[in-house]
């Protein structure tokens, strides 16, 4: 187990390292450098530009730039945001909380609902309910998150006035309000973004769960369980579902990039103060250190999630061989 874990961690580190190099290359694919446009865009003084260029080491040859960049990443220093004038680290740190909250709520909603529906589909395979659920989830998967967000904001927020549609907290709520009121306020703001993200991602969970359960229901030990005379509910949830959960765990690793991408749009639509809206704003503002910072964090999250997924898989399934 230890040797396997060491190998798996090394692999994650290598992947992340290559990803960092790839990001650097991509950034330099565009003609000119990020500051060449500053002059006309922001009417900055050429001397000022030259100074900024020196700060970002853009006046040096490409391999020096890369070395400086890697050194920065290793030290955990991602430079200054051009737009905000603040360290990228500070910005990321201030925005990660809301994104984790939104992501956590989405995962909770997506997994509870998706697993339950997927199991129902598998048990009633081929029925009208199965087909309807498949069609609905595929339609969700085909829907752009930003559009769905706008439609829900318009319908639930503006037409019906049921829920807030912007930000994470109500500006009218006194800062010294009791914590329960503040939590309820954040919760109300959370509903629409989390719902939007769940709808566009739930198809994957349902499909995986359905296929995995169907696979397990064919296995002989399900026959053994039924022949024992335990209730069908126990056959499905205790015997089959436990085994059909393993493949779904791997889905978590595959699915995180989708969540991160969705968060960019959903946070933007609902003005959710997280990393996604930060990344979108940074790309629009051509704030390249900040774009790089958010991309690094996104890649880091994905690599870590996939590592944790593998470890969880190994821990949960007594049969997995650590080779």
């Amino acid at each position: 187990m230890t040797a396997w874990l060491a190998r798996r961690i090394t692999q994650a580190v290598v992947t992340f390292g290559v990803a960092v190099a790839l990001m650097f290359v991509l950034m330099r694919l565009a003609p000119g450098d990020p500051l060449s446009r500053m002059q006309e865009d922001r009417m900055m003084d050429p001397a000022e530009i030259a100074k900024t260029r020196a700060i970002f080491k853009l006046d040096q040859p490409i391999h020096r730039q890369f070395a400086a960049f890697v050194k920065g990443v290793l030290r955990g220093d991602l430079g200054l945001s051009i737009e905000h004038g603040l360290p990228v680290n500070t910005l990321l740190a201030s925005r990660i909380g809301p994104t984790l909250l939104l992501g956590g709520a989405t995962i909770l909603l997506n997994f509870t609902l998706g697993l339950w529906l997927g199991v129902r589909q598998a048990v009633r395979r081929g029925s009208r309910e199965d087909r309807t659920l498949t069609a609905l989830s595929l339609a969700g998967y085909a829907t752009p998150s930003f559009w769905l967000g706008l439609v829900l904001a318009w319908l639930v927020g503006i037409k019906l006035h049921w829920l807030p549609v912007a930000g994470m907290q109500s500006p009218l709520l006194a800062p010294d309000a009791p914590w329960l009121a503040r939590a309820a306020d954040i919760g109300a703001h959370l509903v629409l973004p989390a719902l939007t993200l769940s709808i566009v991602t739930i198809a994957g969970t349902m499909r995986y769960q359905r296929a995995a359960l169907l696979e397990v229901l064919r296995l002989p030990y399900i026959g053994t369980a039924r022949a024992k005379g335990i209730p069908e509910r126990a056959v499905i949830w205790r015997h089959a579902w436990r085994n059909a959960l393993f493949p779904v765990i791997t889905l978590f690793g595959l699915w995180l990039p989708l969540l991160v991408t969705g968060a960019v749009f959903v946070e933007m639509v609902f003005a959710w103060p997280g990393l996604g809206s930060l990344a979108a704003g940074a790309a629009l503002g051509r704030d390249y250190p900040l774009v790089m910072g958010t991309a690094l964090l996104a890649a880091g999250l994905v690599v870590t999630a996939s590592l944790l997924t593998d470890v969880a898989y190994a821990l949960l399934d007594p049969r997995v061989r650590y080779t």
């Binding site: 991509l26 446009r37 595929l138 752009p144 706008l150 749009f265 774009v291 996104a298």
Partner: protein, 280 residues
């Protein structure tokens, strides 16, 4: 029978495949032919009295705040979206097939290097890969946008084809061809490539849906299809400020995206089951 033709025939017999193919065909035909009969999507016929008109016989989808006909813009935007998606996916699939065959057939360091690259690239969400380039670039011309989307999309296909190539390399008929002294080129083009055609077709079909969503997203962020060319994502961006006055300005391009992506995915699903019946 040719396995690809066979797979296409079988997905046509699948109700999902047929529904997807018919819908996608109708959308593509509408986008190709529609703009010929519709008003100029950029025309702003009048300044005040025909802004933000609700859907009517004259303007079935209504007009936007610049008095442009939304139906024309949806049709023309469809042309752009479908063209971008088709070309970009064509590029991705070609690159994926090439890289996958090279990695799977050559093996060794080439394979190891390429696969590390694929692992790393797949760890960065594709949107961020594109943001990294687009954040520096000023206004990306369309051909460059297509190439960028294509180049950031081959990694999954590459891994898939590599797996297939590794498997096929061990098959007896490939072994036999090698023993007979066939050169690598011949083995790759004659034995490996035709046998990966099915999975490639599936990847391409499902890729079209993904790329339409991706392009719409980029255009929604203002980083995609350059203005003033209409695009579905760009129209939704414009409609953001019209939620109160003209909700139809955003509803129709969004529905167009949903219908197109859904039909591509339905067809792709049916095709996947036809190519690999185990997943059904």
């Amino acid at each position: 029978m040719n396995p690809v033709v066979d797979a296409l025939a079988r997905s046509w017999r699948d109700p999902r495949g047929r529904a997807g193919a018919i819908m996608l065909g109708a959308i593509a035909a509408g986008a190709a032919v529609g703009p010929i009969f519709l008003p100029d999507p950029l025309a702003q016929p009048c300044v005040l009295e025909c802004r933000n008109l609700a859907p009517s016989w004259a303007h079935p989808f209504g007009t936007d705040d610049l008095s442009r006909d939304i139906l024309s813009r949806v049709a023309t935007g469809g042309r752009i979206s479908l063209a971008v998606a088709t070309l970009a996916v064509g590029l991705s699939v070609t690159l994926g097939a090439a890289m996958g065959l090279v990695a799977g057939y050559w093996g060794g360091t080439v394979d190891a290097g390429l696969m590390r690259l694929v692992d790393a690239a797949l760890a960065i969400p594709r949107l961020f890969l594109l943001l990294l380039v687009l954040a520096v670039w000023d206004q990306v011309p369309m051909p460059v946008l297509i190439v960028l989307i294509g180049v950031t999309g081959w990694f999954g296909t590459g891994r898939l084809v590599r797996g297939e190539a590794l498997r096929l390399r061990e098959e007896s008929y490939v072994r036999a061809a090698e023993a007979l002294g066939a050169n690598r080129r011949r083995i790759i083009f004659r034995h490996l490539l035709p046998n990966t055609a099915g999975p490639l077709l599936v990847a391409a079909t499902l890729g079209v849906g993904d790329v339409i969503l991706l392009e719409a997203g980029l255009s929604f962020l203002g980083l995609g299809v350059p203005l003033p060319t209409p695009s579905w994502g760009g129209m939704i961006l414009d409609a953001k400020s019209l939620l109160f006055t003209a909700p139809w300005a955003g509803i129709f391009p969004g529905l167009a995206i949903v219908m197109t992506v859904l039909s591509a995915n339905l067809f792709g699903d049916a095709l996947r089951d036809a190519v690999d019946p185990r997943g059904a």
